[in-house]
Symmetry: C2
Subunit: 207 residues, 2 copies
DNA sequence: GTCTATAAGGAGATAGAC
DNA sequence: GTCTATCTCCTTATAGAC
């Protein structure tokens, strides 16, 4: 084996860990399995990470960023309001459906973070980001269509984030894509019903 | 120790397991911890269950029933439509908020079930039940208020189930009750907007 | 039929070689 | 500074005692 820096090996191990967890689940993922996946000797692990938990923490943080980026990339708005709401939601869920293993990994890491008192804040941040992204999307699409939302934007952002996340989890459980997309379409319909024309007098309401 | 039947011990162990998982998490729950919690000698475990996985399977099934029953008990409808929608959703989420440990246990068992090829159907059934219950509630409340839903009932049932489940998960992550309830209220508002008076001519639409 | 002492294996971590 | 052989502990499971 060529000599590598600790930093390089850390990245290699994090990537290997993500693959193993996605494939076998967090419970079945030992430090041995990770080093094997990375093609390193067993003892290498504790030279690069103080403990297994330290790797897991870093993996969660790393993973959060990836999720948000993926969601952003999916949001594309070259269509009209009704269609864009339906399609936008469908595309986002579609990404998750395309990589089941990553989604399960995500939920497993979330639960793991929630158990640790030190790491619980990571989960908080993750969901704050989801809601923020959903909010930006809703704002953007409303502006584009020249309408405003008639219910509180913070609440609506969180609700949208919740619908996407909940749909993902439900789909993981039953893998029924048709029903999942039908539910999303229903949500899009309901979103349409709480829009109002953006006439000169009233601005977006805050609450 | 008094002599007990296997069946009795099985129940004792299942209950003990639920407590330990709720307290320490699935990852930290060993067969030792379970037998200790139940006040039994270590080896007792494999006399009552073939393996740790067998106990986990039974625990998931058992737990599903409890969840559904709790949700049903919560649904109470002695109020008018707008308020009942808000209150109904709030009460359901409130139950989960009141027993955080059980909720986390529930999600951990769900993920565990999803990993096992033999147990994946349990997750499917669990979410099918959620949707069914949500559907019955929606139907019941609409009848009571003399209105009908203007979007597909199966889709609406799933969406409602998804909103509740997703809200629970989001709340577990950030513990922000105000925001969680605000999002639910927004959903209730949107539900109101897709009702129509139940006049003699048209029956409930199917799709 | 009910229970327990003991085994066999895998986990995370470390002391020390290069 | 980089790496690896080795240790200890804890886990699940079983063979066999009552």
């Amino acid at each position: 084996m060529t000599r590598l820096s600790v930093t390089e090996r850390r990245i290699l191990l994090l990537e290997a860990a993500a693959r193993v967890i996605a494939r076998k689940g967090l419970a079945e993922t030992s430090t041995r399995a990770i080093t094997d996946e990375a093609g390193m000797p067993r003892g290498m692990f504790h030279y690069c990470f103080k403990s297994k938990d330290e790797l897991l923490e870093q993996l969660i943080q790393h993973h959060v960023t990836d999720m948000v980026e993926a969601a952003c990339a999916a949001w594309d708005g070259e269509r009209d309001l009704a269609e864009n709401l339906r399609l936008g939601l469908r595309v986002i869920l579609g990404i998750g459906m395309g990589d089941t293993a990553v989604q399960m990994l995500s939920y497993e890491l979330l639960l793991h973070a929630l158990r640790g008192t030190e790491t619980a804040f990571i989960a908080r941040n993750q969901y704050a980001d989801y809601a923020r992204q959903a909010g930006e999307y809703l704002q953007w699409i409303a502006d584009k269509a020249g309408v405003r939302w008639t219910v509180s934007q913070p609440a609506l952002s969180r609700l949208t984030s919740v619908v996407i996340d909940g749909s993902m989890l439900n789909w993981l459980a039953d893998r029924d894509s048709e029903k999942a997309l039908a539910a999303l379409d229903a949500f899009a319909t309901m979103l349409l019903s709480i829009t109002a024309p953006l006439d000169g007098g009233a601005d977006q309401q805050q609450n």
